[in-house]
Subunit: 324 residues, 2 copies
Amino acid sequence: MSSIDMIHAAADRLRGHARRTPLLNSPFLDELAGRRLFVKPECLQHTGSFKFRGAWSAVSALDEDTRTRGILAFSSGNHAQGIAMAATKHGAPSVIIMPSDAPKMKIDNTRALGAEVVLYDRGSESREQIGERLRQERGLTLIKPYDEPQVIAGQGTTGLEIAEQAAEHGVTQGDVLVCCGGGGLTSGIALALEEHAPDLRPRPCEPMGFDDVTRSLASGQIEQNPATSGNICDAILTPSPGEITFPIMYERCGPGLAVTEDEALHAMALAFSRLKIVLEPGGAVALAAALFRQDQIEGEAVIAVASGGNVDADIFRTALERFA
Amino acid sequence: MSSIDMIHAAADRLRGHARRTPLLNSPFLDELAGRRLFVKPECLQHTGSFKFRGAWSAVSALDEDTRTRGILAFSSGNHAQGIAMAATKHGAPSVIIMPSDAPKMKIDNTRALGAEVVLYDRGSESREQIGERLRQERGLTLIKPYDEPQVIAGQGTTGLEIAEQAAEHGVTQGDVLVCCGGGGLTSGIALALEEHAPDLRPRPCEPMGFDDVTRSLASGQIEQNPATSGNICDAILTPSPGEITFPIMYERCGPGLAVTEDEALHAMALAFSRLKIVLEPGGAVALAAALFRQDQIEGEAVIAVASGGNVDADIFRTALERFA
């Protein structure tokens, strides 16, 4: 269902709306990584993460009547903000169903970006039931966070930019490390690289103990995580790779890499001091893998996608205190 | 001596070497600023500040024989790192004269970028004498941090990009706020805007109590600061505007703006949470002016140049602790 043509079409729709993020590097990080290291800072994307690309792609792909009735999403995090902003900029209403115990800042931000936020109690209510009722009552269209072809196509535009920007630096071969939750970004990038930079090899990066994608790629079937909480990399803790994203990754990705929470925090501190960007823990796992899993990486250059920067100030301060 | 033609020529020499930084914005900052607010994040430039542009411009403008004999600079900060990296990438030696009490990290970074660092005692030695001796002995060429036409031309390339990027957002009129020390960046941007975006008005921004450029623009002659230390915005504490930069600014700039140390720290915290970039205090004064001097700013849009991000972790943590 997903294809390079869909990614090209998404790139056309995103032009002038999503940011073309730069490709950053630093001689200090090159030395630490033992090879040339490039970082694609999607924390600089609108709403602070790559999720805006997929959201814009999916919202802009709807016909106008459908879009005008409104968009529905379940999310407590980056997908919520991406959908809210993309819908609002299209003049369309959006309803985001969030757990009532989600961080107040994330609820406030999602509302401020123009979404109606519907809170539910995780213990006693089913978000799916609430969503289904709203969908029927208002004719809303659900946009899923990763297992959705137009979302994958939007995330894939990151891969188009990586292929171009890496070539400008003379890099056409090497590993492309991607922070991976459900696999929307990884599979989109994999499709884009297959066409435009076939010797750049995409590889998912995950928190240790939540390496469902890494294990799924190894076993050849969808594996589950034992839990979806209990790790600082909250943005990328998903139950398992998606039914659409997994086959795409299985055909195109190299082995996954897993890093510890401390390694993610350490990478955040190095991104602060050497690249002057703000990363959230889940957005720093690919950089952490580039720095701390050198022996598992091949090639003279490596590219790490820094997927997001929506981190609370106290966690960021902790990272600096311990590792800067 | 400085001209738009020199800026265009510098842009040609910088292409593929300096980064074209993006133009960032956030609906949250627009609301705080009371108008559309755009930020040009030169903290994302090589070596963490715009200084790399001027350094590259000046080093690349030398004939090869001169360059090969080596470059000399006096600096304890961002100019040192810019010169070191630009010289090293040209295969040329560089000697940076730094006070022996400069922060160890800055000395280490400058060395790691390939420069020879010569330390002097601020109390008992004259850096000018040491520099003059080295210049004669080794045939080094001194590159001054701001009062130097090719440096101004390099900084002016920031203005070329602002003119283009602002137009992409439909902005051709409004104030362009620039963090200002000796005026190299401000005067370069002023020359570029005069040619390419004549209704964008450059305005220097300074720390309160160190507003020599603001006072000089008001009086029509070069005014001095009473001191060059004692403020958190260390990167932009200079004794007075330059003899070359002042006339350029006097003819082209709107009135200066001054902000407090707390306002600079507050702007750093907002840049962290809303733009995901790391600013140093001196690099945040223009953003602070956009946010906290709204009544002194004209137009429906404002552009703030965030000039650098070389900040110690403890100062950054303080900014987050107090304002995030």
